[in-house]
């Protein structure tokens, strides 16, 4: 089975400060990992993904995420937050060797960047 946890429902950060949105996963094999962002009344938009290779993945809008196999984590980061980054963020996983053909999503983390 595959699962993902986002331990924080809400993250607040001041504009210009670094931000981190946490994600941990559980798979029986190796993971494909994704981050998506959802703005109000919109569908989810792809930010970045980890498939193989370099553990540090860079994505859209200056976001990056670090794959840590020993800690089974894939935290989303940005060096300097913008007010416009305020949105709902979802982490998702799929097990390479599993039977599931779909992504499993976390419960989401609401990021608020304060001016």
């Amino acid at each position: 089975a595959q699962s993902v946890a986002q331990p924080e429902d809400q993250v607040n950060v001041a504009e210009g400060n670094p931000l981190t949105v946490k994600c941990t996963y559980s798979v029986s094999g190796n993971p494909y990992l994704f981050w998506y962002v959802q703005y109000p009344n919109r569908g989810l938009q792809f930010l970045l993904k980890y498939i193989t290779g370099d553990n540090l993945v860079k994505g859209s809008y200056g976001f990056e995420a670090e794959f840590n196999k020993s800690q089974t984590s894939f935290h989303l980061k940005k060096p300097s937050a913008l007010v416009s980054d305020s949105a709902l963020y979802f982490c998702a996983v799929r097990d390479w060797g599993g039977s599931a053909r779909q992504l499993t999503f976390g419960s989401g983390t609401q990021l608020t960047v304060l001016p």
Partner: protein
Amino acid sequence: GAGVSQSPSNKVTEKGKDVELRCDPISGHTALYWYRQSLGQGLEFLIYFQGNSAPDKSGLPSDRFSAERTGGSVSTLTIQRTQQEDSAVYLCASSLGDRGNYGYTFGSGTRLTVV
């Protein structure tokens, strides 16, 4: 089309009525997914279509829910005898295929309210 199109964007229905939700995926995308997003919840997988293969219906919450995909393109999610707990945003996504490294493109969703 350029993106995943869902209709209607909003639907209010009376308890006990049937509803149909439509998804038009990106042309050439063989994989299509339906998810449900309830208030304060993550994304709940409902059903998955890949090409002409039999769909994976393992996420459908009850036999009141069904979906079809005609000609490998447009999909319709049908909810019979709607209940108040069916109120949610229903999201459709499509992908180039079901390989795990393919990301999804999401539609903007249908907000269903059962009164």
